[in-house]
């Protein structure tokens, strides 16, 4: 069963470090997304696993077999790694018809003509592009080209499938549609998917595990909801989630047994950790992270705020409120309209407010937040 293991993988382009000592295990049947802003090394990582790029240092194993090792000098070429690769721009061969594109890989496997024909027909049907078999890629729309590319990649039945931002060239509606299809495909083909994206929503909705990277360094590798609810650091918290998390700078110190007293922008708060006790230095600088859905606005609530602007989108409403000098984001279910500058009460809900150390950005604790 294919399991992919990366050990201390580093890639340097000249002096620039694209990927820095990456350790990663991708389990069999996983749908792993490599997520991060552009230039964080996610595509390079994918290309290194596929064999299109050679790491500067480290070791890569696929299915227990070493495919790259800087120590022993092993570097198995991509065609011998038994993987599929879906390119961002599809990389369909412009001089071949849809059928020729799909059958090319099968010809290389020396399949018989009849078998190839059956397989191509089957794929065309699965991906609902049956009527385009004789056309050239330039005669297809973006979504159709995308399907051809998927068919070509699936044709040889690879157990591991790599995808490099395959949906980024599609329009919003088509993208949502293809996401659904990809998720089904993952289950139907029973293979391992490694998927590169910079779209956190895509990572959230598709993957079983998300690998978040920044400047070549792994930030967090966990199921998407864990990443969302318990971000390892400030960067992760800020990158994942839409609308983005509220970040408030302040100072904190231990009071009582476990509780922490926080002062941010003139507001006194008590933070009760639920993830284990923490100890702060006296007046340690911290950053408080509160997801918009935990900011409740209404008539009650000790803290008073003014509505800055309201963005109703039908199903939900994003409300920006001003508390002291801070702008906070709140999400309310349903369409509610507030007047600009209307006064509202604010409360923080739930047990998932996060305290980060300001200096290192590290997640110190999850907990309840109350306003004093």
């Amino acid at each position: 069963m294919p399991e992919i293991i990366l050990k201390e993988v580093t890639k340097r382009f000249g002096k620039f470090v694209a990927v820095d000592r990456l350790n990663l295990t991708i389990g069999d049947g996983d749908f792993v997304t490599l997520l991060g802003p552009s230039g964080c090394g996610k595509t390079t990582t994918l290309r290194m696993i596929a064999g299109l790029e050679s790491p500067t240092e480290g070791e890569i194993l696929i299915d227990g077999k070493t495919v790259f090792s800087s120590k022993s000098g092993v570097d198995v070429s991509p065609d011998k790694r038994d993987v599929g690769f879906l390119f961002q721009n599809y990389a369909l061969w412009p001089h071949m018809t849809v059928e020729q594109n799909i059958s090319f890989g099968l010809e290389n496997l020396k399949w018989e003509k009849d078998r190839i024909r059956t397989r191509v027909a089957q794929l065309l049907a699965t991906l609902k592009i049956g009527q385009f078999g004789k056309r050239y890629p330039s005669e297809l729309s973006g979504g159709q080209q995308q399907r051809v590319a998927i068919a070509r990649t699936l044709a040889t039945g690879p157990k591991v499938l790599f995808m490099d931002e395959p949906l980024s060239n599609l329009d919003a509606k088509l993208r949502t549609e293809m996401r659904t299809e990809l998720k089904r495909l993952h289950v139907e083909t029973d293979s391992t998917f490694v998927y590169v994206t910079h779209d956190q929503l895509e990572a959230m909705t598709l993957s079983t595990k998300t690998c978040l990277m920044k400047e070549g360094v792994l930030q967090q590798y966990e199921p998407p909801l864990s990443v969302y609810n318990n971000p390892a650091n400030l960067f992760v918290a800020d990158f994942v989630g839409s609308p983005t998390i509220n970040l408030i700078e302040g100072r904190g110190r231990n009071v009582n047994l476990d509780d922490i007293k926080l002062i941010a922008d003139g507001i006194d708060m008590i933070f009760s950790p639920v993830s284990g006790s923490i100890t702060l230095r006296e007046d340690q600088e911290i950053v408080l992270g509160i997801r918009p859905e935990y900011v409740k606005i209404g008539d009650s609530g000790k803290m008073r705020a003014r509505v800055y602007s309201t963005l109703p989108s039908g199903m939900e409403t994003i409300v920006k409120i001003r508390v002291g000098g801070q702008l906070l984001t709140s999400v309310v279910f349903g369409a509610i309209d507030f007047d600009v500058d209307e006064e509202v009460g604010v409360e923080f809900l739930g047990e998932r407010c996060v305290v980060f150390d300001k200096e290192t950005g590290i997640n110190l604790a999850l907990g309840r937040l109350g306003i004093v």
Binding site: P78, D79, Q88, N89, H95, F104, S138
Partner: protein
């Protein structure tokens, strides 16, 4: 709207005004000459009175056509053999240029060969240098005693006498032209390879295709349209090249169409020459038509934009170092060695004797001596050389200024009015001179402006005629550069200025030109360089008063004053290379932008 108002609103747009002016001017300067040339093929010229019995000057006759096409042995010798020779050498040169240029392009863009910056700069030197540079170098190296005169460096160094077929005629012409146009193929094919998405090849790798299969099934089919159009452009350039066959073919009476054209036009039968010029133009037009057939076909190369940045280079592994050294050595040999031979040849007293004692500065700074070269002083003391140099620079500057500016405006107007018939007409008219072989183009202008035409007096022998012919001939380079520059510029950029009420000239000077400075400047650079090294275009229009460096070089060479010719050649090459480098460093404009079509 009344017609008057319609016209007013039409001409209120500057690009329409430019298009109409250019359509009229270019028709006059390209189509009209063509008609006049065709007419000349049916007319008895003064020098032909003897051969066309009982005729008067200006009589209509089919004599020339019969002689050229249907007079058995005469036609064979005069037309069919040279045509066949032209085709033969051009095909051979194409093969060398494409194989060599294509391979180097692949190595530089797709493999991990070393010293790429050096290779990509030095490898295109032969194209920047005048075409005969390599031909002269070949003669310097390999000339033999069989033709008369002293043997070349090769014989002097090794003692081996070179064979005639090796030193002159078909073989060296093919090799030299192939080397000269290899950079051209390198630039065109390299451009496609660079733009071709590397993912296309990687996708095939992942699907377990072998290297060979990827090359034959993916890479080659995709670059094939570019290779074909390179083939056609190189072929037509070779067909119309004059200097190389003139240097390498004439010693063994090997004639091609262009040399034959030169002989007939300068001889007593200009009528024959005009017919040959027409044939050459017809070939050029056919080639362009063929080229356009390949573009825009169903299967043709589609530009799928994507990130092509992460190209993984093919590892040459064991072959990397030897291949790199070989390529660097080769590039240096064809680019730098010729210059060394010119220097050497220009410093020796008695040709063929390369001993130290035979070195002299006579041909550079010596006073004139009765026994050498008709008493001419060294070229740095020769006021005629300075006059020629001044003429060359003056001509190139004026031509580049006029052609560059008109080409830039043409590009602006063509792109602005894209899709209209007028725009397509001007685009084609501005490109048409590219198809006309330089020699034929010169012939046309000689035929047309040699006598008073319409409002113009006879321009024969004037500087203005040289400027005119140079401007029209090099307009394609400039207009291509202009069109390319404008295509990359979104229309909104000008429109946002238009809305603010900024006048047209200010929009051009302050917004459009500065943004696309390098592309537009390439449109000035190409005509300048081409003009500095041009021979075929001017050679039949030049009179002693307006000699340019290249025509003087040609004359010295014809007289067999080898050292002077080499010295002048070195001078031209150095000026051209210096100019190219300065402009390139200062502005980023370069000769490889805007080439092709």
């Amino acid at each position: 709207m009344t017609i008057g108002n319609r016209a007013k609103s039409f001409f209120r747009k500057p690009h329409n005004l430019i298009l109409v002016t250019l359509a009229i001017a270019l028709s006059f300067l390209t189509l009209f000459p063509l008609i006049s040339l065709a007419k000349d093929t049916f007319i008895v010229h003064p020098s032909e009175l003897m051969s066309v019995r009982g005729s008067h000057v200006g009589d209509v006759t089919l004599f020339h056509w019969k002689k050229v096409f249907a007079s058995g042995e005469t036609s064979m010798k005069m037309f069919y053999m040279p045509l066949w020779n032209s085709a033969k050498t051009s095909l051979g040169s194409c093969a060398i240029a494409i194989l060599l240029g294509g391979s180097v392009a692949w190595l530089v863009t797709r493999s991990d060969i070393r010293w790429k910056p050096f290779i990509s700069v030095v490898f295109i030197f032969p194209y920047v240098m005048p075409s005969w540079t390599l031909a002269m170098a070949w003669i310097n190296f390999f000339r033999n005693r069989l033709i008369g005169g002293a043997p070349g460096l090769f014989t002097a160094l090794t003692g081996i006498e070179t064979a005639n077929w090796f030193a002159y005629g078909v073989f060296p012409i093919i090799v030299v032209q192939g080397l000269h146009y290899a950079p051209f193929a390198y630039i065109l094919i390299g451009g496609i390879l660079r733009n071709m998405d590397a993912n296309l090849e990687e996708a095939a790798t992942i699907l377990k295709a072998s290297r060979l299969k990827i090359l034959s099934r993916i890479t080659l089919p995709i670059v094939m349209p570019a290779v074909l159009s390179t083939f056609l452009l190189v072929f037509s350039s070779c067909m119309s090249s004059f200097a190389v066959p003139a240097f390498l073919g004439t010693p063994v009476r090997f004639q091609v169409l262009t040399t034959q054209l030169y002989r007939t036009l300068n001889g007593i039968n200009p009528g024959y020459g005009y017919i040959m010029a027409l044939v050459m133009i017809a070939i050029g037009t056919l080639i362009l038509a063929a080229n356009q057939l390949f573009v825009g076909k169903r299967k043709s190369f589609t530009t799928v934009t994507g990130k092509s940045s992460n190209i993984s280079l093919v590892k040459l592994r064991g072959a990397r170092l030897p291949l790199s050294i070989l390529l660097v050595g080769f590039a240096a040999t064809i680019s730098i060695l010729p210059l060394v031979t010119f220097a050497v040849e220009s410093f020796i007293m008695a040709p063929g004797d390369y001993s130290f004692g035979n070195l002299t500065t006579q041909f550079w700074i010596g006073e004139g001596r009765e026994d050498i070269g008709g008493g001419e002083p060294g070229i740095l003391l020769n006021k005629y050389i300075y006059l020629g140099l001044w003429n060359s620079v003056k001509l190139s500057l004026v031509v580049s200024l006029v052609a560059g500016t008109i080409g830039g405006l043409a590009g602006y107007a063509i792109v602005k009015a894209r899709g209209t018939r007028l725009s397509a007409l001007v685009n084609n008219l501005a490109f048409f001179p590219y198809l006309m072989p330089s020699m034929a183009f010169g012939a046309i202008y000689l035929s047309m402006f040699g006598k008073p035409t319409l409002l113009l007096p006879s321009l024969y022998g004037t500087f203005a005629l040289l400027v005119l012919v140079g401007t029209v001939k090099y307009l394609p380079f400039a207009s291509r550069a202009g069109v390319n520059a404008m295509l990359q510029l979104s229309n909104e950029i000008e429109e946002s200025a238009l809305i603010m009420g900024i006048p047209w000239w200010k929009r051009m000077a302050r917004i459009i030109f500065p943004i696309q400075k390098t592309s537009f400047l390439s449109g000035y650079l190409l005509p300048f360089i081409s003009c500095m090294r041009e021979l075929a275009l001017f050679v039949i229009l030049i009179v002693p008063a307006n000699r340019v460096l290249t025509s003087m070089l040609f004359q010295y060479n014809e007289k067999g004053w080898n050292q002077y010719a080499n010295a002048i050649n070195l001078l031209i090459v150095l000026i051209v290379l210096a100019f190219n480098t300065i402009i390139n460093k200062a502005t980023g404009a370069s000769i490889d932008k805007g080439i092709g079509g």
